[in-house]
Symmetry: C2
Subunit: 85 residues, 2 copies
């Protein structure tokens, strides 16, 4: 069993209205030192699979096919072996 | 200047309909080995601040006051010094 931790971020050139809104709210709360906020997604996926390479390959395909919009988003992920395996 | 990488996840006992929907979609796409999906948020914050401890403390407060709903969500974060500093 593996746990994949997937991080999906907007590409640097893409506008991030959610990030701008958070930045504005933080400024209002008194956090004036904040220069930039970028909002992304974090997804944890548990996979019942013995072979690390197969699991890694699966996660890569999940990101390309469903989780990330590769036109405007980047993704990266880490694999972690779970003890139950 | 510091970059804070903030990870916000639902607490383990909290229902995650978004994660369930992703799991269902992955299953439909043929990824039958997926056991569980939990969806969370990933936020990058750039802070103009010299003092690491002050910056860390600020991010902790940002999470508590705005970024995370601590009733149903956990948060953790990492600080990274940016080269421009």
């Amino acid at each position: 069993m593996y746990l994949a931790k997937v991080y999906i971020t907007l590409k640097p050139t893409v506008n991030d209205p959610q990030g701008l809104t958070i930045k504005g709210a933080l400024y209002t709360l008194g956090f004036a030192a904040v220069q930039e906020v970028r909002a992304g997604k974090y997804i944890e996926i548990k996979i019942e699979e013995k072979d690390m390479e197969k699991a890694r390959n699966d996660v890569q395909n999940m990101c390309k096919k469903l989780l990330a919009n590769t036109v405007i988003e980047n993704f990266r992920f880490e694999m972690e072996r779970l003890k139950s395996d």
